[in-house]
């Protein structure tokens, strides 16, 4: 638990870098490097999720990053709780 707390506090460190991971670029990157966007990439309807890129509209990015971190942790614990209930039920 202490560990989780420490890491949640550390999470905004991840915002320092403006650069995406290699191979996780926007469309503009392909346009700039290749002169075109490969059809398969261009035509695929990207699924954005509820909090795309861990951000929420115009809300301060550090705050929304924290919010995303907490939401993710809660979801993971919820899944394990459900697993626990399921196992109890099976036994």
């Amino acid at each position: 638990m202490l560990l989780l707390f420490v890491f949640i506090i550390l999470v905004p460190v991840g915002l320092i870098s403006n650069y995406p991971a290699w191979g996780e670029w926007d469309f503009s990157y392909f346009k700039q490097k290749l002169g075109f966007i490969p059809d398969g990439i261009k035509n695929f309807k990207q699924i954005e999720g509820i909090l795309p890129d861990y951000s929420l509209g115009d809300i301060n990015s550090i705050f929304s990053y924290y919010l995303s971190a907490i939401l993710g942790v809660i979801l993971i614990f919820a899944i394990f709780y459900l697993l626990k209930v399921l196992i109890k039920h099976e036994r």
Binding site: Y19, Q46, L51, Y54, G72
Partner: protein, 223 residues
């Protein structure tokens, strides 16, 4: 290494699902056999920690960034099936809720970041643990992420060969192996492998200390 949707040809991601989904369900069975009152809080916490550590993007020279995964920790403390399923769950949440990594590409990403890294770190640790424990933990973490990066680099790098139009223009990920392997694997050998190694070393040591303090001798870790 979270491959976005649209980067992989259907041949690739369908193959990924065909291989990945049965392994995932088998892994859930294994996870359920390990989960008990003692292990559940640790496994859930370490899974959440993996999610957080993947949010901590660390910039490196060359205009990119990356992060640790945390598969080796779960694999060494419990077993590789547990680590594979937990990392896959994290990747699923990242894709569905945060748009980080694709849905079609989920199985391929899980096989790389989950399956390959979990099983490689488990066996490397088993092989080396009688030498120097700290060294074994660090190397297991390093190897796990480097092997995962090789898998992802190869999957991305073969896309221009698998799918292109009549004029030879790639339909999906456009760069070939000559570019993907040095870029992805190189960064993981030099930077993210070291981060994963340190993370594995520190977290495994920490969990073992906590475990002995709360009076747990050994985890239920049936493989």
């Amino acid at each position: 290494m979270h491959i976005p949707d649209g980067y992989l040809s259907p041949q690739t991601y369908i193959a990924g699902y065909v291989i990945g989904v049965p392994l995932f369900f088998y892994g859930i069975k294994k996870l359920k056999s390990v989960l008990d009152e003692q292990t559940l809080p640790f496994i859930a916490t370490l899974t959440a920690l993996s999610f957080l550590v993947m949010m901590i993007n660390i910039p490196i020279p060359g205009g990119t960034s990356g992060h640790a995964i945390g598969a080796a920790v779960l694999s060494i403390l419990f077993n590789p099936w547990v680590a594979f399923v937990c990392i896959s769950l994290v990747l699923l949440i990242q894709a569905l809720i945060f748009g980080d990594g694709g849905i079609t590409t989920w199985a391929i990403t899980s096989l790389g970041l989950g399956f390959i890294s979990s099983f490689s770190s488990y066996y490397i640790y088993k092989l080396l643990k009688n030498t120097n424990k700290n060294f074994a933990l660090f190397i297991s973490g390093w190897v796990s992420i480097v092997l995962a990066s090789i898998f992802i680099a190869v999957v991305l790098g073969i896309q221009p060969i698998i799918a292109h139009d009549d004029k030879g223009n790639p339909l999906f990920f456009p760069f070939d192996l000559k570019i993907t392997v040095p870029a992805i694997v190189g960064a993981h050998i030099l930077y993210f492998g070291i981060i994963e190694g340190i993370y594995t070393l520190l977290i495994v040591k920490f969990v073992e200390k906590v475990k002995s303090q709360v009076g747990i001798d050994v985890f239920n870790k049936q493989v």
